[in-house]
Each structure stands twice: as C-alpha cells, then as structure tokens.
Amino acid sequence: MRTFSARNEFTVDLPITCPDGRTLTRREVLGGIGVATAALTAPSLLARPGSAASAGVRAQANLAPAPRRPGQGILVLVTLYGGNDGINTIVPTQDPVYAAVRGAAGIPADQTLRLNDGFGFHPSLVGIKALFDQGKVGVVPGVGYPAPNRSHFRSMDIWQSGVPERVDLTGWLGRWHDAVGADPMRMLSIGPSVPRALVGARSSASAVPNGTFNLPGGAPLTNAYLESVRAPTPELGAWAGRIIDTGSDLLRVSAQIGPILKGGGQGTAAVNLEGVADDAKYSVLERQLAEVATLIRAKVPTRVYSVSLGGFDTHANELGTHANLLGVVDRSLSKFLADIATDPMASDVVVVVYSEFGRRVAPNLSNGTDHGTAGPVLVVGHGVRGGMHADYPSLSDLVDGDLKVTTDFRRIYSTIIDQVLGTDPAAVLGRRYDALGFL
C-alpha cells in the first residue's frame, strides 16, 4: 500500500512569502527559530485556558461536559494521505448518476448508513454515524481550492500551507503558532515527524513518539546533553540551529510528557489501549489518538495535535481497501471521543479530518479511482454543531470529469482559527473567510 507524508523538500530554498507580503529567505526563516526556544524552564506562558481549575474539575468527571468555550479550544487535525474517495465516504444515495457512473465501484444505497434524505455514510462509518445522530459530526462536502492540482505533493502542500496561489513553505497552523508566540508544548505532532501544516516561519511543532517519551542515560547524560544544546551555534548555520532547538525542545517536552505517558503518576493514567489491535498497520491511528486523549485528560497546555493515516491512494480494487481504511478512521475517532467524553473540557476538543483531494467520479477499469478534486471534510467533537454545512457538488456538472469545489478550504481554517484557537484569521490567512456553521 502506498502512503503519503511530508513532501519532497529539495525546493526548500524558495523564498517564503509571509501573509503580509514580505519575503523571507531560508536563512531568516531558520535563523529566527533559535529565538523561540530557551533552556529547560517551566512552561509558564503556556497555561491552557481552564487548566488551572483542572484538579477541582476532575472530581466532577461524571457530570455532563461544560459547553464549548469559543476561542479556547483544542484542535486535533487528522490527515488522510493519498486522496480519500469522498464520493464513497459520503454517498449521494438518491442521485441516479452515482449508481450509473460508479457501478460496481460504488456503494449500493441500501448499504449506506443514513445521513439525511439525500446522503448516506460509507458502511464502515458505524461509529461516525452514531455520533452524527447525536449531533456531534459536521460534514462539509465539496471542499477544495481554485485550480485543482492532481499531484499528491502539490495538493497536500496547498492544503497544509493554506495558500493555493503560490508555493508557501509555512503551514497554516505554523503561522498561527508564529502569531501567538512559539512554545514547544503548544503544538504536538504524534509520530517521528512534523507535517508542513505545523511548521511556521519562526517555529515548529514538537514531535512526540507514539509510545514512551523518556530520556535515556540518566541524569549525568541529560545534564551533558542540556549543556550541549544550551547555546545557539550561529557559526554552523541555520540547520545546526534547528538541531540545537529540537534538542532543547526535547528536554522540555519530554520532561512534561514523559511522566504522563509512563502513567501511574498522580492524576495521570497511561495511554488507554484497551481493544486496540496489536497489528500496527490497522491500529496506528487508534494509538495516536489514544495518546492525544491521554494528554488532553492530563491537562497539558497543548492547543493543536496532529495525527495521520496513509494509504488512501486507491487506484485499483478500491472497495475492500477503502472499507478497511474508513473502518480504521471510524474505530479511532469513536474511541477517541469516548476516551475524552468524561473530561470536563471535552466540548472544547474539535477534530478535523481531511485529505489532499477526492477522487474522480468515474472509476477506472481496475475498479479503482484516479486523483480527483473536491472532497468532504469531517468536523467531529462533543461541542460541534452536527449536520451538513455546505452543498454537495453535482455529479453531472463536472470539470474534466471531476467535481466542482463548493466550499473553499480556507473557510474551514478561518472558522477553526477564530472559533477554536481564538485568533484573528487574518493573521494567518491574510484575511477572514465566511465562517461555516459547524461550531
């Protein structure tokens, strides 16, 4: 199976254009990062809204969660690499064109899970359907950007940068991080790498391994390591600066997160992996989200989490593969929502699921689908306003065999930046876009 993650970066020397139109060189971009990190200190400026009250509130864990507090939320970004087939994810059950064009590569209407009179969820999305019925799933169909690009890499770059009209090496959440002031605990990517979306001009998210996060070698070695990453090394250039920064961030982030993932400490529990399969291939997203749930419940001051799943590039024999993948997504999200359900801040957590493009309306003769354009975005959470929040694209009014975009992706970002992260979207996207109704 083919998976997609961060793009080939050998174009990294392109100048970076900031939202204000100023151009940064790579040297400026990377040279600035050193400013953002300091030695091992208490993350005082990081207190997440509400976390001060955590000890008292935990006692009330059985009560219904407090209502969502606008602008004080936590974003969990779920990236599906490879191009998820949106048409088979949210099926237009009443459109005769669907059955006629998709044929054996489509889902019979009576197998879908009813969303409303016109649409049904893919049969694998049992848990999502249940959450939808509880009003906890916002569906935004037909999301994309002008002049669709069918390259995985370019299209994912556009989604992750939030800038469709030119190459911009910063990510939309990276620019948010820059705008509010970088801190290594503020954005966490679960896994070894940080996707472009979370890389800013002056800062980057921290990466937390899926598993344990304890430093080896004991205190003497930790102290020597701390000494070696204490000061910048401008004479060695920008990448050396990044190496130093990731080292000092490691010390800070692991000091805070290591004990939580280890579990057994006061007020913390190890990651709940009950019912999660051993085979990493089918459980990687579940494990990532279980870790996020643990960190949220432990009240770390993180505002943005990033997790991902690959394998959605279903050029051949799509039905079985896609059903398995959506089953993974469904299990993972259902468990995550359940894991955080009793947390008093549960309503503040908003999950956004997206992919770099949808797939072509007509299947190829390998019972798969080739790269397409617009696709659905799912917004899931205890404090989300459920329902369909945009028009589903027509299956007959196509451009080059592909769906027309009904909803600009920046409307989603703008809504999230404003309603979840509490920042003026113009600081990140250059302007504010019309809000969508999912929050």
Partner: protein
C-alpha cells in the same frame, strides 16, 4: 578551517560516501582532492567489503505461496517478514562494509528518486533486483537507467502497470514518471499524462512468476501527443523521449545537487552549470564529477546546507567506529528499528516522492531516537582509541575519529560535562557538527 585541504576532503567523503576514518583521510589528504575524486569514482577499484557481503541469494516469490487458510497466511507472512527484514539488514551491512561507498550512496539516491516501497511491491526479490539496477547502472547514462527501472517488476507493481489497459488507462506511472522521475512538475499538462498513460498500456507483470510481458490486446497502439509531439509512442520510446528532454537534465541535475551539495530549485544558476554537463549524454559519473568539482560544492552554503539522512547517520557512525551493521542483529540496537523511528526505512520510502530532506529529519522525536541510539552504539563500540587519551584531549580525539572539523563552544561544553568516554561519544554523535552532512 573550511579551506583546509583535510576539511575539504572530509566533506567530500561525507557527501559521496559515509565519511572517512582517520586512516583513510590521512591517505586521501596525502593524495590530494583531485586524485581522491578520481579514486572514489574509479569503478575498477576492488571491493573486498562488497565481496564479503553478497546479496541474499535465497529470496523466493511470496505471491505463489498458498494463503487460503489462516495457518497458511501466517506461515506466508513469516516468510515475507523474514525476507524483508533480511534484505534491509543486508543493505545496511553492505553500506557499512563497502570500500566503494559511492556505489551505495548512488544506490540510495536513486532509490529515493525512483522511489518504490516494499509495503506495496510486497516482494523482497523485486526490491533487490531494482536495488541491483541502481548499484550497477546508477553511475552510467540516465536514459538506460530510467528504461531499466521503468520496465522492472518493482516499478510495474508499484505504479499499477497491470491495471493500465487499452480503453481504461491507469495514469499512475505516467504521472509520476513526468512529475518525479524525469521532466518535473510544471513541465507538462494533465493532457500529457493521459496521453503518456496510453503509451504504457498492456505491459504487465505476472505476479505468480514475475514474468514481464506485453498483452497485444491491451496495448493502445494509436497515435499519442506528448509535449506537443505526435506519434505512435510505445513504452520504451516514451521513457527515452522524456529521459532526453532538456527539462529532465535540469530537473535531475537540481535533484542531484540538492542531495549532494545543498537544496536548490531548477532555476538556481548552479543548476545551469550542471545541467549543461547532463545534456551532453546524461552520463551520471560525468555529472557527479562536475558536482563535486564545482566551486560551490565546498562553499559555506554547501557545508551548512545538508542534514545527514538517517541512513547516512547510522551507517556513518558505525563505519567511524569500525563496526558493521550485522553485529547488531542479535544484541541490538537494531538499526532497522532505529531507522523506522528516524523516518527512513530502507526499501520503504514514505511515498513515490521518496524521502524529503533536511527539516524532515529534525524533530523532538528524532532527537530522542538519535540520543538513544548514540548511547547504545557508544556502549557497544571498542573505545580503546579514546579511553587511553587524557580527559582534556578527548574532544579532539573524538573529532578526529568522526571526521569532524572541530567543535562549537556549545558542543564542547557538553563534551566536557559528560562524565565518561561513552557519554562523550554519545554527545558528539548527536551534536550539530556530526548530524550535519
């Protein structure tokens, strides 16, 4: 320091090899930069290290192994996993043993360029066959290399050749060939992709036997128009046509420069210099020599412009300490597991785009993995070259052993604070001086 001949030759060895041991570097400095380039590129130099690490000869096709019952499936998966991990370990061991490191560096480069992954290809033997193409043809002309890779089982399986049929072309291979292997994104339209896909119809690989054949009834032999050129393009002439385009010379030159010197786009002036050489026949040895002899190759931009790929870091550290990858299979640390945590599993790049570079390798999570591995490696290494040195001399001794020019004040502070030779070595291996390529 950067103009120092020893420093320049050490840089050369890091970039087109896996670094030089002190003895090798002493010899190379005596011979000089130009003579060292010639000997590094000399294909006639014998390689006892490669001879001692022959590729696994017992790999079998997995597809024909029956897998109907759960037990059979389990047995089949065990064979598959054993073969896959064995293949990965073999290549890492070859990289630590070889005396012609350039051949392995080029193999790694082409593996990232014509990227295919074992997860989808699903046959270790196909991955090995392709790997041998990179090794034997990777320093020859680009066109035959591209042809050999394109019509090979690994690539045919990876990009869905069996689904590409007359009347229902599957565009996967045509698109990636243009976007990632030859002319580069921006040099073609979606229409060119659709036309080229028709040229590749009918060629398939029989999964049970590995036989590559052309099915006449699935071959679209009508006229195709690619990049404005209309004719009855077939499989080979489409690959050759694209391989010989000027855009390909620029795109592949930019990629070679980006991976061996520092990241550039095709519009960078240095690419014009290299692409000019590439266009004269596309001989990769000639192109690579032009790269390492280019004045910018030893510039500050180059010295500071690349982070070691994890495979380079793991293999380089073993070579510097006189160790072989196969020493670790039982006692650990497992290099393959470490590389998984560092984001670079050999034979399994994250996508058809290969591995990204520089920033992709740097995160808090990979910093932790590097520290863990460095401690384990230092614990297993024979440190007699270090333990006999008095404490004040150890930082210099480590710099010499790791082929690093010297230490920053920061790293030196850490080295002085570390209480044992082992922890000093671990600090050095994770320092920016050593993590940079």
């Amino acid at each position: 320091m950067a103009d120092d001949p020893r420093s320049r030759i050490a840089h050369l060895y890091r970039r087109i090899g896996f670094g030089a041991t002190p003895t090798v570097l002493d010899g190379a400095v005596a011979a000089g930069f130009d003579a060292t380039v010639d000997s590094l590129f000399d294909p006639s130099i014998s390689d006892a290290g490669a001879a001692a690490t022959p590729p696994p000869s017992s790999l079998v096709l997995i597809a024909p192994i029956p897998a109907t019952s759960a037990e059979e499936k389990k047995a089949r998966n065990i064979v598959k996993r054993t073969q896959n991990i064995g293949l990965m370990r073999w290549w890492l061991d070859r990289m630590t043993a070889t005396e012609r490191p350039l051949a392995e560096k080029m193999t790694l480069f082409w593996h990232g360029h014509f990227a295919t992954g074992i997860e989808k290809v699903d046959e270790a033997i196909y991955m090995l066959t392709q790997n041998q193409i990179f090794r034997t043809a990777g320093l020859g002309r680009f066109e035959p290399l591209a042809l050999a890779v394109a019509k090979d089982q690994a690539m045919l399986v990876w990009l869905d050749a069996n689904d590409n049929k007359k009347g229902s072309p599957n565009e996967n291979f045509a698109r990636e060939l243009m976007e990632l292997f030859t002319i580069g994104i921006g040099s073609y339209t979606d229409g060119d992709v659709r036309e080229a896909a028709r040229a590749f119809t009918g060629t398939r690989v029989e999964r049970r036997t590995g036989t590559i054949s052309v099915l006449a009834r699935q071959l679209d032999s009508s006229t195709k128009t690619i990049l404005g050129d209309s004719r009855n393009f077939g499989f080979d002439d489409t690959v050759s046509f694209l391989a010989n385009r000027a855009e390909t010379a620029a795109f592949v030159s930019a990629k070679l420069w980006s991976r061996f010197a520092y990241p550039v786009t095709t519009s960078d002036p240095v690419v014009a210099d290299i692409a000019g050489v590439f266009r004269q026949g596309g001989d990769i040895t000639t192109v690579m020599k032009a790269i390492v002899r280019h004045p910018q190759f030893v510039s500050v931009a180059a010295r500071q412009g690349l982070v070691k790929q994890p495979i380079e870091w793991v293999v380089g550290s073993m070579r510097a300490l006189g160790m072989r990858a196969n020493e670790f299979e039982v006692l650990g640390p497992d290099p393959v597991g470490t590389l998984r945590d560092l984001n670079q599993v050999p034979f399994n790049p994250p996508s058809v785009g290969g591995w990204p570079q520089n920033g992709y390798w740097l995160s808090t999570a990979t910093a932790l993995t590097r520290l863990r591995y460095a401690i384990a490696l230092a614990g297993r290494a024979n440190l007699s070259w270090l333990t006999g040195v008095a404490a004040p001399g150890r930082p210099d001794a480590i710099a010499r052993q790791l082929s690093v020019d010297g230490w920053s004040r920061s790293t030196l502070g850490g080295l002085q604070k570390a209480s044992t030779p082992k922890s000093q070595l671990a600090i050095a291996l994770t320092s920016p001086e050593y993590v940079l390529a």
